[in-house]
């Protein structure tokens, strides 16, 4: 009997189990987002294997043998997870869900009005990659020259600086890891453009803003270039560069864990040979020559904080002899000796929810210019200008994330300037001191993946102008459709009058207001961007000649700049060719410095066009790069001074349109050789290959009666160079250690 009883029980259990197994009920429903079905949503009966994924129309259905109170989870990375309780009995059940969008950094709309980002991050604002700077013909591997192919940037050949949207070169500031870089360009004399001081390979990316930039940056009326240095190099290497005009070498060491690295490099350049081979428009009595060395180290602590240091020292020399415009003078002689040292240290650390950024930079710069004239082979009128500057910058920023795409940040910045100018013929040296203290706060507000805003405020006090200013900044971004985005930026920007114009008169900050409206379309392999802007300048300085030098006497100057810019990049339409086109239209007038009336600035062109194209031919291991620049003729002015030192316009005119076609070629012979120990790039570049005679403006004699054109140093410039990088091979170490 008991066995029978047991077997009955067993039978019952089996029956029940089979019932459980077979008695499946159906759960189905529809998942909506904004009343439209969404696919790929995972529907899961919590803590079971049971569930399904929604189809094209948002419908799902699955069977389960679970019973009782259960929870149904709807999940997908793009949406906020939803849980719905349900009671499973014997009947089929239908359950619908409405999802909310998950706010995420990847999908959020990015404010890009006024800014162009060059980095390898995949973001809406990224239009260029760091490699693009090297492969842009005519840029000679310099960030600043590559930027001249972007909308809003003027192609200025006679002076260093980035001239953006009707702004002067002094209105663009440069930052490395958040710190101000003074003397971003090498020392030079008027008419000869100096190169970028910082090597492009130091940086993993940059953000170039031509307007409406963040409250984190100040003292720039037009534009900022924010450079971000590499965290850790990929591997140990020894690099050598050889060219008829320079020789460079360096090495970089990094440990396996990528927590420590250091490097040292040196370079010597001399244009001597080129001045003999090529036709130069300048007569060099001493061909430009420079020597520079730099050192870097990086440390990472256990909690991920990174300390980065970069320091450099360099000297340069050149001498020029130009035919003089003055009577009873044959030549004007100019020679230059420059010395510069730059140190930049930055520290970044995460502390819980906070991100701390501390940084400091220091620059010492000395520019010694000797001037004289020659008449009938004897020198007279000797004079010299000796400018020594000490610049110190420190900045601390604290940032806290609020949710995935919102953040609040604030900080303080200190800039100290001491400049001494000694002019031999002037009885007293001129010295300038200033300390600018700035505080700033900014918040990124992400309302949804479609709408975000940035609200910022910056306030600065300068001892030189002895006043505080208050600069509000505001920007919005709105996604119109999947590929179309719009953004709008407004900001007030202040900048001190340039150091050399300070005199005995009380001065105030110069002010600019920016309004930028942008529409952007990005799709696979193609980007299109149109930007319209309006800039309103107030309180620009007005100059007068006092004690033989131009001095700012008031802030009564003003001006405006407005325009429209187009950018189109396409990697897709023409097979294996990557190209971009930028066009800028600018309308601007200024009454400032030595202008006695409102005039179209002489450093700006009304129409600017750039075309950059690249093609890499794999079979030949060679990249071919072409760029074409056009700028409509810039105006030129000759101002003279009256007996009281006031300026008046004597002559004006317009130079002819600027045209240049540049070509460069990169040949990588070791490309793809798996066992090759070195990586070589051979570069040939020809700037202005068609040998167009371009003119940047005119120089006038002191009475304004005679003039001669300001020309590029060389109409056509050819560069040949080899860059060899040896990855340090550890096999030798291994052998040595085992002997």
């Amino acid at each position: 009997m008991p066995t029978l009883f047991l077997s009955k029980i067993f039978a019952l259990v089996l029956f029940l189990m089979s019932f459980f197994v077979t008695a499946q009920i159906t759960v189905s429903g529809k998942v909506n987002f904004k009343n439209k079905g969404v696919k790929d949503i995972s529907v899961t009966l919590k803590d079971t294997y049971d569930g399904s994924t929604t189809d094209e129309n948002g419908n799902f259905f699955f069977q389960t043998s679970e019973k009782g109170k259960q929870i149904l989870v709807f999940s997908n990375p793009k949406f906020v997870e939803v849980e719905k309780p349900l009671l499973l009995e014997n009947d089929a059940i239908t359950i619908n869900a409405e999802l909310k969008e998950q706010i995420s950094e990847i999908d959020a709309v990015v404010i890009s009005a006024g800014s162009i980002e060059a980095s390898d991050r995949k973001r809406a604002t990224v239009l260029l990659t760091p490699i693009d700077i090297y492969t842009t013909a005519g840029a000679n591997g310099q960030v600043s020259s590559a930027l001249e192919t972007l909308p809003g940037v003027q192609k200025i050949g006679e002076t260093e600086g980035l001239f953006v949207r009707g702004g002067t070169g002094a209105e663009t500031k440069f930052f490395m890891d958040g710190n101000l870089v003074n003397n971003f360009f090498g020392n030079s004399v008027p008419g000869i453009k100096a190169m970028d001081r910082l090597n492009t390979s130091l940086f993993k990316g940059n953000v170039f803003s031509s307007g409406g930039y963040s409250a984190m940056y100040g003292q720039a009326l037009s534009s900022v270039l924010i450079l971000e240095s590499i965290d850790f190099p990929e591997r140990n290497s020894v690099d050598i560069g050889i060219s008829p005009i320079f020789l460079s070498g360096g090495f970089q060491n990094v440990n396996d864990e990528k927590t420590k690295s250091f490097g040292i490099a040196a370079a010597y350049s001399n244009l001597g040979l080129m001045t003999k081979l090529l036709k130069f428009n300048n007569t060099f009595t001493k061909a430009p020559e420079s020597f520079g060395t730099n050192f870097n180290f990086r440390l990472k602590n256990k909690s991920g904080g990174i300390l980065k240091y970069y320091g450099s020292f360099d000297t340069n020399r050149l001498g020029l002899q130009d035919e003089s415009l003055e009577p009873e003078t044959d030549f004007d002689n100019t020679s230059l000796k420059g010395k510069n040292t730059f140190h930049n240290i930055s520290y970044r650390q995460k502390l819980g929810k906070y991100l701390v950024n501390l940084g400091s930079s220091y620059t010492f710069n000395n520019n010694m210019i000797d001037l004289s004239n020659t008449y009938q082979e004897s020198e007279f009128n000797p004079n010299s200008i000796d400018i020594t500057g000490n610049y110190f910058n420190a900045k601390g920023t604290l940032e806290r994330k609020i949710n995935k795409i919102s953040a609040i940040r604030g900080g303080i910045e200190l800039n100290q300037t001491r400049e001494n100018t000694d002019v031999a013929i002037s009885p007293v040296p001129y010295s300038f001191h200033d300390r600018i203290t700035s505080v700033f706060a900014e918040t990124d507000l992400g309302f949804s993946n479609h709408f975000s805003a940035k609200v910022g405020l910056r306030s600065e006090y300068s001892t030189a102008v002895n006043q505080w200013n208050l600069a509000p900044r505001l920007a919005f971004a709105y996604r119109i459709s999947k590929n179309w985005m719009s953004s709008l930026a407004y900001g007030t920007f202040y900048q001190n009058p340039e150091n050399q114009f300070f005199g005995t008169h009380d001065l105030n900050f110069q002010k600019a207001e920016h309004y930028v409206l942008q529409l952007q379309k990005s799709e696979e392999g193609r980007s299109f961007r149109v930007e319209a802007f309006y800039k309103n300048y107030r309180d620009l300085i007005k100059n007068k000649v006092e004690n033989y030098r131009p001095v700012a006497i008031s802030n009564n100057g003003d001006g405006f700049a407005k325009g429209i810019e187009l950018f189109w990049r396409d990697k897709k339409s023409i097979k294996n060719i990557d190209y971009w086109i930028s066009y800028s239209f600018l309308d601007s007038e200024r009454n400032f410095q030595n202008y006695d009336q409102s005039l179209f600035p002489n450093f700006a062109a009304k129409h600017t066009l750039s075309l950059v194209a690249k093609k890499f031919v794999t079979d030949w291991k060679t990249g071919f790069n072409l760029s074409y620049s056009y700028a409509s003729g810039r105006p030129y002015y000759n101002f003279l001074t009256d007996d009281n030192g006031n300026y008046y316009l004597n002559t004006q005119g317009k130079v002819k349109d600027f045209n240049a076609l540049n070509f460069s070629l990169n040949y990588l012979p070791n490309l793809g050789k798996k066992d090759s120990k070195s990586f070589t790039v051979l570069v040939l570049s020809v700037n202005n290959i068609l040998n167009q005679k371009n003119i940047y403006g005119y120089n006038f004699s002191s009475d304004g009666l005679r003039s001669k054109p300001i020309l590029p140093s060389a109409d056509t410039f050819i560069f040949i160079g080899a860059f060899i990088s040896f990855g340090i091979d550890r096999t030798q170490d291994a052998i040595d250690n085992n002997l």
Binding site: V13, M17, Y49, T53, T618, G672
Partner: protein, 213 residues
């Protein structure tokens, strides 16, 4: 006594039942990976594996297969030239793979998937990302090789890379095919740890060898 016996029977029955349920569902889903043809199907499959992983909590294989299914979806997008989709897909796969790696550190199969994820990211912009993602991919594969040198899937990865890399960059179709053959030879002797452990890739090697140019 009877009650105890009965209870024991019931318990073992349940345990046996649940074990087979895991094996059964995994066997079924793993078998269906090769049958899947569309991106949506791979998404659904990844969700299925994720669900199993979330329930089991100690098994690394469901998360491994979830990552693998997502990677397959990515490779499909890559073949169709939808490069813009690759970053989000890689991020999704990485999420699942991280879970698998937490449960089973230093496992060659996980590292092979890690290599594939870096490979997907690299394809977004090979020229710009070769130095970062390409290096990381190579690192992952060499780590996998140190752990499990005879794994045919490591050879398969190398074969693919060599086959699809242009000769100017050090690749070669012929050498790729040699590696596919080597991988196939390894498949013949390689023993998977269990019926559920990764065992994919043989078909692909055979496909390439059968379709010699």
């Amino acid at each position: 006594m009877k009650k105890l016996l009965f209870a024991m029977c019931l318990m073992t029955g349940i345990i046996a039942f649940s074990q087979t349920a895991y094996d059964k569902v995994m066997t079924e889903k793993i078998a269906s990976i090769e049958k899947h043809q569309t991106a949506d199907e791979f998404t659904a499959l990844a969700n299925d594996f994720k669900r199993i992983g979330d329930k089991e909590k100690t098994q690394w294989l469901p998360y491994y297969y979830a990552a693998f299914s997502t990677i397959q979806k990515g490779r499909m997008a890559m073949r169709e030239g939808k490069v813009a989709d690759l970053d989000p897909i890689a991020a999704e796969a990485q999420k699942s793979l991280d879970l698998a790696m937490d449960l089973n550190k230093d496992n060659a199969e996980n590292l092979i998937l890690q290599k594939m994820i870096h490979g997907l990211k690299m394809m977004v912009d090979p020229q710009a990302r070769f130095m970062s993602e390409g290096m990381l991919a190579a690192d992952a594969l060499s780590k996998a090789e140190k752990i499990d040198a005879g794994n045919p899937r490591i050879t398969l990865m190398k074969a693919e890379d060599t086959y699809f890399t242009p000769e100017q960059f050090g690749g070669s179709k012929a050498r790729g095919l040699e590696l596919f053959q080597k991988s196939l030879d390894q498949f013949k002797i390689y023993k998977t740890k269990s019926a559920l452990d990764p065992n994919w890739g043989k078909g692909e090697a055979e496909y390439f060898l059968a379709n010699k140019p």
